[in-house]
Symmetry: D2
Subunit: 304 residues, 4 copies
């Protein structure tokens, strides 16, 4: 017999997932969050922050390719990139696959997390923290953007859930998106994770899209299924410049080719089609005025 060691993720009072754990590599608290790294039985090594599953060996590439490549494709010449959050370093790995990249500034508030990630999640970052083009800053992403005089071509939000009182809550607001916009070069593109897109639980996602639409002229939500979450997960690209001509199934593969992105595992033209064609209920939700009213309390997520 082996120890039945489970991480149980309750989603409100009505749902829960069980992650059987083979070995707990680390269970600690930083100043900002509780950090667990464990070998799960079905998903391989995995990271949990404040009890919420973040990414797992088996499918982290789905999440990270989904988050990174559409925005980089949408921008004609992404040289300078900013990342709010980005903990595991897998976003660095994906961004650096584009041969146009000259500089990445990653601002993650939690230096303890970064140190742990460097040691325990090599498959995620693959050493890219040491790439000369990468600068990692331990600060509040918002405060950093407020002060910086740099301007970026792409900005990414690789952030945990916008939990009430949590460190990411204010990075999902219109104010933050306006700040992000003001720090972009012309044609700049923002991409971020935008929460659960399930039927019945997509309110926070719709609220984020709604916030983006108040700030950016062009907003395109999309989604990928993340087995580790047991959920379809939302993302969005947003820009004041139109990007539809670049960001479509016809162009995507050509642009990836030009950029030297030849070793992707998940993202390609048809996967793009899959991600960007949204089911009817999501499209309705974006337009529904009743839904819009309810969204006022949708963010931040309440903890219970």
């Amino acid at each position: 017999m082996l120890t039945q060691n489970w991480i149980v993720e309750f989603r409100g009072s009505g749902r829960a997932n069980i992650y059987p754990i083979q070995e707990t590599l680390l269970h600690t608290k930083s100043q900002f969050q509780e950090i667990v790294i464990a070998e799960t039985l079905s998903y391989g090594r995995a990271l949990f922050l404040d009890g919420v599953p973040q990414s797992a060996a088996i499918d982290e590439h789905v999440y990270h390719e989904s988050l990174i490549h559409p925005a980089l494709v949408a921008n004609p010449q992404p040289k300078k990139v900013f990342i709010a959050g980005g903990g595991e370093g897998a976003v660095l790995r994906e961004i650096l696959k584009h041969n146009t990249i000259e500089k990445i500034v990653m601002v993650d508030i939690d230096d303890v997390l970064i140190k742990i990630v460097k040691e325990h999640l090599y498959e995620w970052h693959q050493g890219t923290f040491d790439d000369p083009r990468v600068e990692v800053v331990h600060a509040d992403a918002r405060a950093y953007l407020e002060q910086t005089e740099e301007r970026f071509d792409c900005i990414f939000g690789d952030l945990p859930d916008p939990l009430e009182g949590g460190p990411a809550a204010e990075l999902f607001t219109r104010e933050f998106y306006a700040l992000v916009k003001s720090r972009m070069n012309a044609g700049g593109v923002l991409a971020l994770q935008t929460e659960n897109t399930e039927i019945g639980w997509c309110k926070a996602h719709v609220a984020i899209i709604n916030n983006l639409q108040h700030v950016f002229a062009h907003v395109q939500p999309y989604q990928s299924t993340i087995p580790f979450y047991g959920l379809p997960w939302g993302f969005a690209v947003a820009s004041d410049a139109p990007f539809a001509e670049r960001l479509n199934a016809q162009s995507v593969e050509r642009i990836l080719q030009e950029r030297g992105c030849t070793d992707l595992s998940y993202y390609d033209a048809e996967t793009h089609q899959h991600m960007f064609s949204l089911p009817r209920f999501l499209r309705s939700a974006y337009r529904d005025p009743e839904v819009a009213q309810k969204l006022q309390n949708a963010l931040p997520l309440s903890i219970s």
Copy 2:
């Protein structure tokens, strides 16, 4: 305090979902399976067979619209329809939305289940068991097809998992598909559920597609996300007649309109695009000779 009553679905030893139950309406055994109908806290009323979640109020329409409409759209004039399984009766509800339908034969082995469904899952069947075009037979679907002299335009497999020793195992074999084909009118179309399409757990799905490709000239897998399962779920249409000209985002809405299918909640042109554009790993898996070899043991699913 209320009772913490959970239905826990273990998927092998490495994963499990928890369904908190508000009230158990029925927990019994028929000759063929254990049947539970319960009010879940998050998905509304739901049906579990042998401990496996089948369908829930909140998203059964996603599953049933996904299963039914593509095949009916693919057939130019579906009049006679056969259903292997079909327990909840929601497939009847969806099929009858097409104004071409003249006759439906539904062969479900478990009469106890059908009786329970009629009483407890009205929202699923909406009284369609009593439609004069519907004939329900309690028999083994295979035995029935072997004997019948009728021929059908569309045949549906609305079946539980092909579990080792379970009643559905032999309805996922090449032999059964060949039998199905022999009972079709010219241009006949088969559609069926084809199991989990998650990255890392899609082996049974790929094996089913593989079996279909041995029997039918044209096979098209697709998928929808079912929150109640916490999974993306596979389906397929298969036919000896080509259907690509009818079954695409451009044609789907026109055909649904012609058929009088105006009250669908999930399926439309863009949802079609979402369902039929498959992520790269699935497309690779269908073609991979290494995967093909492993598929020999993929079905039936072992119980553990």
Copy 3:
């Protein structure tokens, strides 16, 4: 595969028990509480009130013999008996084993529960609800005692946990015990369940004993292990008359014999010794002034 249907009993945030359920016979709400009757896999048929395990086929006799016989033995001639609570009717069954009994008044507030118990828990009451000596009243036990002019030889408290805001909370107070005392004949004895006696979790038990000691001249706590609870469980007898000469290992068997109590399964002289010899930490807790101070908030039990 069978449904993994679990009733999970959380005890605060730090402990929980899982009861695998074979079949849920009933899950409903009365005006006063949520009622579940289920076939458990390991304890047989069982009753849960507001999610808290009450009694199970396999060991309900341990609980009910423990509650009833010591007090009846302590009283020289118990003829008239009052029960506050008593839901399952097993207390009736045990009390009627004493050939001195002339009348039992059982006041349980929840008539819906009693009706359910009569139908589903026959092994508990064994038809004794229909015994001519038994009168069942559906009322608040306190209100009933305030009004009654009857006097009783033994009074039993067969009550659920004294949960904050719950119906039993005020039946564990000094006020209620004083009321009980005023409704006793000379030599009258009270017995009641007095909660968990585990090391580390016996605060509520000690508080109840403390309350009893404020009202009665003679108070004797004792305990039995209830597998269904996974706990040692406390009881007490209390009286203004001394009972030590009757209630000891030497006398118990003789008195039971005289009373015609020959078919007990659990209680006898040595079991008595086991129940009434208390481990050191409990004896210390009753005397400890520090503990006494903390007891002020020990009752009612907070819900969380």
Copy 4:
């Protein structure tokens, strides 16, 4: 939110306990067993071997005082002591409280466990591994006893469950008990843990007592409740010399006093009475010929 990290102990298919974990200090495998040391939310620091709870900060003294003191009291002059197992070192701590002790040989097969225990469970052993009277040997207890020419006054079995194929299985057999007896000085006493004494689950306990009775002239079972297990737990003392005159409530406190055992927390005269007065169903089980027949398969415990 904090991670909901649970260790779940399944007892067969019908029961389970949940231990919420605050922090996993260590999760590893030795050559003999899987070892987990974790901070539990309700029991403090705790040790799990092969998924089975062994001892916890909050109540390990109950287990270890129960195991050690009765046998030492039963022996008139315990100088040399042998321990089979003894992992946590808490048995050393308890034995050394008796001022007669001159030598303790502790033979625990798992040196990795002992090393871990020394580092993580100081409160258990309190440095007694370094006491000059203590000799720790990493070997199979049976092989050691077979070879040794030493003779002992008291021998203790502080062993995990006798699981099928596990390292402790053969240390619960009549053969082992006969070996133990042959290594005793005149008047030698054996004490050991004897598994679960719950009503309904005491078969293994009764089988162990039965085995002891085949080998020793005097066998006395007893029990204590261990909250960490959620169970009453069995022990036994066994000897060829009569010990009833020493091992009773009257003598126990006097002997402990003489020995200088003045700082016990759990064991004293009345606790002794509690532990050694056994409920009726246990006493019947020891004598029941039907039970005796079933015992042939009761050991070792099957794993499922």
